[in-house]
Amino acid sequence: MDTKRRNFLKIAGATTLAGLGGPAVVERLVSGTSPAQARAAHGEHPASPGAKTHSAASGHEEKNAPTGRRLGMVVDLRKLRKQPELMEKIVHACHAEHNVPHFPNKKDEIKWIWRTEFDKAFAEHSDYYKDRMTKAGDVLVFCNHCDEPPCVKACPTRATFKTKDGIVAMDYHRCIGCRFCMAACPYGSRSFNWRDPRAGLDMNHINRHFPTRMRGVVEKCNFCAERVGLGKPPKCVEVCGSTRAMIFGDLNDPDSEIRKVLRDNFTIQRKPSAGTHPSVFYIV
């Protein structure tokens, strides 16, 4: 092999590697943090209360002080456990509000929020010698609106994206239906329209203020972005009403109600080890 050829191969190889790994490295350098370490802070208890709330809310270190809003949710399982029928009501209200079709065939199933057992929602928690309450009570699961959403990173068309309020939203008109986001989501929160969703809706009783989807696109809980934009609470929170079983608010505002609840209660999150930094917290 002559020198010229060898030099060329070197350059070609280096360029390919840079092209593949470059963006990730640059991002790390720009953000200036070691993300895995910085955000694992949730659930830990640093000495000062101020620091604690800070890391619990945004997950960022001090120098990355949160700017803008980050909407989040606390689900109080103690309250939901007492009223299983409330869970049903929430699921039903959400699906009616968003024209989520109902297909009896599990293969076509679409769901935004649903009941599941504790071990399924929190697979990483020990299930030896479970107490009576967690054994009996179901958990409501839905999109976690992660601060570091893997689905957003995976989407090749930016059809799923994070809004400035921290909501992970979907553009149903841009989605090409590749379902990469479904493979990427560690919570199984996403559904795909395997067939025309209108076939699973009673078209005389749909919510005319929210679009129905078309087949071939992905959908999921949108934290009721359409309602929040009008100053209304998400539907599930509204259904909970005075029970306060679900609390919604700005995680970046230290004076918000949700931050007060987070200060006063021990909360857990789904799969914290996935590094996604969910905005949904559970009080067990």
Partner: protein, 390 residues
């Protein structure tokens, strides 16, 4: 040069017609799927990628495998591969066409395909996959065509083409690396979340691609009077053997990490693929026969390629060995790897996937399309070779 594809004996036309029938059936099935949606497939909320994406993943490997001929021939000036290299380049073209077709039929909204470019998201691995796959396709068409044209005129290929030939080598590696990155960068999918996925993909690609080339070369020797030479086939058999063994070594490492660490998430999918996974009193094992066949055919293939008699003295056994390895690696990557990764789902539930007839016919039709293109390309290449000899 294309006129060479239009002259052939009756077996040539019968073969093309045979493939054409499958293509026509697939076209019909695709129209059905296009009108109804992907609900006509066996995919579901839990197993959201099926036969299409698994075939895509495997065929990216077949396309990349061609580099095992290009590299020795162009970089190391290994003359023995003189006649066989064009087979590798043209195989890459047809494999890539199959890959792109499998992606398109898997899209829920294929009409919006161009959004990948119009609204490009450089953080998505699919964006890079789109670039390298199309780039590698372009490079192979360009290099194959220019070099074949030069050969026909019995002149040396133009110097500038070597730039693209050398460029195609890192591209071949990159197509399979980026395809592996589609999987191994996803949090929460334990089976895929492994740094060895890309090397394993490459190892299996460097065995599967050349294995197919050996089989096709043996067929061409009989039906088209085109002999790539015994020495070339023997060398290729060595490459296949080492690559296949490397793949198996990597598979073994996955087993070690899962079972020695005893981390449930790592064990579950392997358990499901090879032994069956118990869940709520029911054992789920619909992929077990495929994965055991993968191991069995691997042993058969490696044995046939290792024993001097079967490898060197008999075209038949060499062909059987390479076919066994090709199918074995197809079962591993074209069935087990992608489908297994969805079991269990993120909530620990198990949904088993069974492709529908409509889906299987579309997949068969795309394979037929690939072999249709391959036949035509090989017909042209061999026509040129014969013309020079005459």
């Amino acid at each position: 040069m294309f006129e060479k594809a239009l002259k052939g004996n009756k077996y040539y036309w019968m073969w093309l017609a045979f493939l054409g029938i499958f293509m026509a059936i697939a076209a019909f099935c695709y129209v059905r799927q296009f009108n109804y949606g992907l609900g006509l497939t066996g995919m579901s909320r839990d197993v959201s990628w099926g036969l299409y994406i698994s075939q895509f993943t495997f065929l990216v490997g077949v396309a990349a495998g061609g580099v095992m001929l290009v590299l020795p021939y162009y970089v190391h000036n290994y003359k023995t591969f003189g006649r066989i290299t064009i087979l590798g380049e043209f195989l890459a073209i047809s494999a890539l066409l199959m890959c792109l077709s499998f992606i398109v039929v898997d899209l829920g909204q294929p009409m919006r395909m161009l959004n990948v470019i119009l609204h490009a998201q450089p953080r998505s691995m699919l964006f890079y996959d789109m670039i390298v796959l199309n780039g590698y396709l372009f490079l192979n068409i360009l290099c194959g065509w220019v070099i074949l044209t030069a050969e026909r005129k019995e002149v040396k290929p133009p110097k500038w083409i070597y730039f693209f030939v050398y460029l195609s080598i890192p591209f071949a590696v990159s197509i399979h690396t980026v395809t592996a990155m589609l999987y191994c960068g996803l949090p929460g999918r334990h089976f895929w979340l492994s740094a060895i996925v890309a090397p394993r993909f490459l190892a299996s690609a460097f065995a599967a691609g050349p294995a197919l080339i050996v089989v096709v070369a043996l067929i061409l020797k009989r039906v088209a009077n085109f002999d790539v030479g015994k020495k070339a086939l023997d060398k290729l058999a060595t490459i296949i053997l080492y690559a296949a063994l490397t793949n198996m070594f990597f598979v073994g490492l996955e087993f070690f990490v899962a079972y020695y660490s005893n981390i449930p998430g790592h064990i579950h999918t392997i358990e499901y693929l090879f032994f069956g996974l118990e869940h709520d009193g029911h054992v789920y094992n619909n992929l077990v026969p495929f994965m055991r066949m993968f191991v069995l055919l691997f042993v058969v293939g490696v044995a046939l390629l290792s024993i001097p008699y079967t490898r060197r003295q008999s075209d038949f056994w060499l062909g059987v060995g390479c076919t066994a390895l090709f199918i074995s690696l197809w079962l591993d990557k074209g069935i087990g790897f992608v489908l297994g990764g969805f079991v269990p789902n993120p909530l620990g539930e198990i949904t088993e996937y069974y492709p529908t007839a409509n889906e299987i016919f579309i997949a068969l039709g795309i394979w037929a399309m690939g072999f249709f293109v391959l036949t035509i390309l090989y017909k042209i290449a061999i026509g040129v070779e014969h013309e020079i000899e005459a």
